[in-house]
Amino acid sequence: MNNDISAPQVETDVLTAMRRPGPAWLTGLGLAGLLFAGGLALWAYQIMHGMGVAGITHPVGWGVYITDFVFWVGIAHSGTLISAVLFIFRARFRTSFNRAAEAMTIFALMVAGLFPLIHLGRVWRFYYLFPYPNQRQLWVNFRSPLIWDVFAVSTYFLVSLVFFYVGLMPDLAIAARHRSGRAGKLYRILSLGWTGNLRQWRHYGRLYMFLAAFATPLVASVHSIVSWDFAVSIIPGWHTTIFAPYFVAGAIFSGTAMVLTLVIPMRRVLNLQEHIPIDHIEAIAKILLLTSLIVGFSYVIEHGMAFYGENLFEMEQFRFRALGHYSLLFWIMIMCNAVLPLLLFIRRLRRSLAFLFVLSLLVNVGMWLERFVIVVCSLARDFDPYNWGNYLPSPVECGITLGSFGLFFAAFLVFVKTLPVLSITELKER
């Protein structure tokens, strides 16, 4: 590691990233905000007119909304992985990414939390989903995976928020010192009076270790619950026991891809090249390769089990996925998720930023399509051939999906300008 950079140099580099936003940043924020506003308007339109404006129909009751929900919860998993799991493994390269990854987790979860409401037919009765004591003496149905989702995603959001904030406190104190006037005062308050004396560091260390240990099982549990939304049903193509590990691997895969997508351009724009060396990015690429292999293996398992078990419904389902109405999306998914990442075996490609950036975009496209194929194909061709039907996303659904991307990127842009993008304290330790 290049430890020739002095401590104050690290501080000035990271904090200069937070100075007055340039025109590029403003246009980016404006565009993202516009997308998000468009998404909200479409959602209001859908509430006013009814679910009919969306493309979802009779056999295919779920469509783009649930795909987006699983996609965004998947993205959120990178934060926990990088900040908690790698912290426990004492991985050095973690410090380049953990702040960006944790921020990404929180914003992705905020976006993911919206979709269970958007896909509700009567969203003005959403409070039926929460188990508060009510005069009707009615509880929610605790056997329903949708209720598990409510608990899992909210727990995960809180833990990530606390984890992100605890990690941020020392950096806020540093930022407070460098800033004067109103902003400085705000940072001082936010850092909860962090003075950096020995006692505080002792507490901080212990707390951070506890939080990391506590967040690690979340990596596996939250996305397993999200996969159980499908696994507990009896629909061919959903009702398989492989879903939990398959979805967790998929989540980490798309999460790390999104980290790369965000960090690579950020590194160049905010010129933090020295602080995020190529070796660290190569380490992330290795994780990408590992999870891609797991996901590829899961595809093989899924199709293999269907034809091995000779279950009529499953065989038709997977034949339809590969050769049916949505076969193009299926093959793009296979290409993006299982075949292209194999190029990462080549060391030179692993270190070339351009290739990694393009690959990460493709991986996220692949992962979105994977969720789309799972959700839609299984519902399109299930038990009774009379009910087979196809599904075409409607403009409203696409608008709301773009709106969700708008919200995510707007939040990330705001984060970049208001909070230190890299963990200054950990960089110094390095």
Binding site: T57, H119, R122, L129, S144, S233, P385
Partner: protein
Amino acid sequence: MDRRKFLQLMGLVSGTTLLSSCGSERNQKELISYLVPPEDGVRPGTAAWRVSTCSECPAHCGITVRLREGRAVKLEGNPDHPVSQGALCMRGQAALWRLYHPQRLRTPLLRTGNGYRPIGWDEAMKRIAEAMTASAEKSRTNMLLTGSTSGSLAALQERFADTCRIDRLPEFEFFNHAALRQAYQLLYGRPRLPRFGIEDADLLVTVGADLLETFISPVGYAHQLSVARREKGLQWSHIEPHLSLTGANADRRLTIRPGSEATLLLWLLQTLAKRRRYARRLPQQILDALPKISLARAMDNSGLPGSSLTELARSLEKARHPLLITGGVATAQLAGGQVALLGCLLQWVLTVPWQGLDFDRAENFGRAGDLRDLQQLNLSLQNDEVGVLIISRTDPVRHSPQKWRLDENLRRARLSIAMTDLHTATSRTTDLILPLTQNFERWDDVEPRIGIHSLIQPAMAPLHNTRSEGDILLELQQRLTGRSEAATYEKYLQQRWKKLFSASQLRAFINKGFVTKGSPRTTISLRTKPTVAALRRIAPSEPLPAPATVITGSIRSFDGRSAVLPLLGEIPDPLTTVTHGNWVTLSPRLASQYGVKDGEELRLTKTDFAVAQPARLQPGLPDGIFGLPIDSLTSGPPGIDPATGEALRVIGGIKAHPTGKHFALPILSGSPSQKGRGIIPKPIHRKGKHHAEHRSLYPEPAYRQYRWAMAIDLKRCIGCAACVASCYVENSVPVVGREEHLKGREMSWLRIEPFYDDQGRASFIPMLCQHCDYAPCEPVCPVYAAYHNPEGLNVQVYNRCVGTRYCSNNCPYKVRRFNWWQHKWAPPLEKMHNPDLAPRSKGMMEKCTFCIQRIRTAHETAGKEDRLIRDGEVIPACAQSCPTDAITFGNLLDPQSAVARLIKTPRTYRVFEGLGTEPAVYYLRPD
């Protein structure tokens, strides 16, 4: 005059006040008191039943109308009515949509340019009277053309015609069975259609007659068929050139080349005549007059293998009660007269000994004419001989060939008047339109068969400013002759009924809805001389050149008259599952020849006949045939058969070419084949691999008194979708229209799924919520909207549903429907809502509830008498309306109940039993 005063006049005091408004469900804010307390019946919250008769088609089935708060909300068959025995077809169930139709004519309309101006009744009557008197001076004749009329209205028309110097033209119906009637006239001198004794037959051979769709009395025949199959072991073979719902339900379906029915019947007659037993029944001159025809010629002419012909002849000989019926498509072609004659002759030989034909209870087509009379009318219109032309309850413009240009000729009449309740092709061309009161708003009686008088009784006060036809005629008579039979049509009815019935008969007539008066038993005898003359005239006919098109009657709209009802457009055609549209069917192989897929337009042309409709692939349809439902005919039939006056419905030598245009055809079936999933387990169950004996991890469901279950006998189900229409009306299921169907968002709680095997044989399965013991939809609903109640029902609590739609996704039968929109009911359709059911708003899931409102009412009556619900006390709307009693509903925990007994038969199975959902709907295998 309301019903009570009317009945008091008749000296019968029963029934209730007809107050319309009390405690209507819409605005719950007010409790509106009565003026006079009702003796019984119309009390808020309880239903009253009123007997009446359906007049959606000339069969006139008996119905009972369910009234809630003075509104008609449901129609059900009148249990012991001789025509329909308690069942009702799809069109009968949808008749309420005609009563509350938003576009119903509300006032008389006078043509101004090409638009219409509403005018008052007096002005309309004055104009008609003046026109009739004026045309008398100008040596023009006034004419009255009506649809099939019977009972008192026919008598009044007779009197009206005599007194007001107006010619009463023969009645015009498109399905007027002219060829058959002429054949009977020729053979026995009785121009009537006999009642066929199908319930006593042990072998039935139908040639072209679509018994289950549009032939004379479909519901009656369906019921007779199911009784004969159940008790007499009836074997039924159907001979037709194309594929119809009747053919699909026959035990054996012989597809012959179109136009070869005459030679086939001739060969059958000839082979039977060889046997002494039958030869005795025919006089010798007739036997000699029979033209000779060899088996080989019959074979290549009809396209059937020799074995099936001989086998058919042998079965006819062996049967003790054979019955042969021709009609429908077979007699509606150029050689139709010969087919009818030979068919009736064969009937004489086979059926008369065991009295299979009953001319004393003949169908009431007595005064029906045919298209030749219409041609005559067209001619007299052309040379301006017609003064006032009154056209009532029929649509000649639509059903006459394009080349006659009847619509322009109508304008040459001095004054053309159309009496109808909804706009038709004819009413758009006449000068004056008089709106008629609907079936449920007027007093009347009809005579579906000779001797059977069936009552039409008002269920509610007329909705709009309409009048009954009887009142119109009486007022015209009053204006023209200064004297009328009676002040109003009700008084006329009273006088006539008093003369016709004894006091006890009258009481039964009012309470039960029908009376059967005995008619003298007469025997029919064969008139040999005209028969021989006719036989000599038979020329050997060649089959029509392929490819041919067959114009079929539609079970959804009869001859097109019911197509205007939105509910009938919404329910899919049983064979093609297409809704809201027109189509032409062709076999898959023919389609690949033309290179067309579902929805691509195909243009059929022959000399002056041209039709272009989207194609629909129909497995089981012979290769050289295009099936055209009657609604797809945009310009009337291609021509008429000069010999019999029937419209030509089978045309050979058709040239067809795809036009390249593509129509989005709303097809509800995802795939015509079961793909080997054993939804209807034909003899070869899926590859024989049976699941291990099913063991469940779940606790045994503890039902205490009731476990509601249903048994559906697929052998009896004929796929007529009467149950689907009944379910739509009973549960106020919204009609969503074509665009929503294209997206696959139909709302029917119950659907008929047609599946075809590789030989193209169709079988139907009604699919509804199975109310499973371990319902996959219940554990996944986050808010307990899908909930299992202690009586085994899977209850859907509408106002608790949040709309995640996971229940619909997880249901293997996909029977749950989601309200994508807030469905609006155009006024006055919302009056048809069943108040026992909650209105569903957008965002709610809904599904079949085994008519829980009926179960609840049964619980309340049983609770009042402190007893359990008896078997058969709860009948869901679908089971009640089924003509063949295929659906049985009851309590599984009561071993004596019908459904429990049915479930023990070996044919019982359940759909997707292997999934372990333990459904409560047991199906009985069709084989």
